[in-house]
């Protein structure tokens, strides 16, 4: 069975600093991999996704993620965070995007001024 682990429930970063949010998955085959963001009182929005090809994928608002098959990881990065990046970030996997997504527990990102 697939599973997703986001080991950090909360991450605090100073504005302008770099960011990495960790995600590890368990699956017998490489799944579709997603990062979603949830702003307060909003639904989830897709940041980026990966299935194959270049292991570094670019997303919206300067976010990127790197897939590592050897580490079963899909970490999210941003070079310089802005206060507006404060949100909860979810990593998810799916064997088929028309089927259910398996979600991590989410990481709340707090930006210090």
């Amino acid at each position: 069975a697939q599973s997703v682990t986001q080991p950090d429930a909360r991450v605090t970063v100073s504005e302008g600093a770099s960011l990495q949010l960790r995600c590890k998955y368990s699956s017998s085959v490489t799944p579709y991999l997603f990062w979603y963001v949830q702003y307060p009182r909003q639904g989830l929005q897709l940041l980026l996704k990966y299935y194959s090809g270049d292991p570094v994928v670019q997303g919206v608002n300067g976010f990127e993620a790197e897939f590592s098959k050897s580490n079963s990881s899909f970490h999210l990065r941003k070079a310089s965070v802005h206060w507006s990046d404060s949100a909860v970030y979810f990593c998810a996997v799916s064997m088929d995007s028309n089927y259910q997504l398996i979600w991590g527990s989410g990481t709340k990102l707090i930006i210090k001024p």
Partner: protein
């Protein structure tokens, strides 16, 4: 494109009452999902329709929860005899066919059972 529309945004029900939540997926999307989100449990899959047919309801509490998709333009989630533990944000999402496509979420319905 108005996105996935969920109504109402907030609903307060008394314990034992029925609650019906509505979802209008994005036009042309063939897959509709329902999730429940709480602080304690996080995001939980409830059920999934493809082309209006129920595909997987493995996440649905069997006794009081039901979901329907009578036409391609809306889906409903009904909770009978609501209990305080049903309090949560219920999220509806839709996607088009094809591998790797994005799942679009509504803003959710916050259900509070008092």
């Amino acid at each position: 494109n108005a996105g996935v529309i969920q109504t109402p945004r907030h609903k307060v029900t008394g314990k034992g009452q029925e609650a019906t939540l509505w979802c209008e997926p994005i036009s042309g999307h063939s897959a509709v999902f329902w999730y429940r989100q709480t602080i304690v449990q996080g995001l939980e899959f409830l059920t999934y329709f493809r082309n209006q047919a129920p595909i997987d309801d493995s996440g649905m509490p069997k006794e009081r929860f039901s979901a329907q998709m009578p036409n391609q333009s809306h889906s409903t989630l009904k909770i009978q005899s609501t209990q305080p533990q049903d309090s949560a944000v219920y999220l509806c999402a839709s996607s088009s066919t094809g591998g790797g496509t994005e799942v679009f979420f509504g803003k959710g319905t916050r259900l509070t059972v008092v």
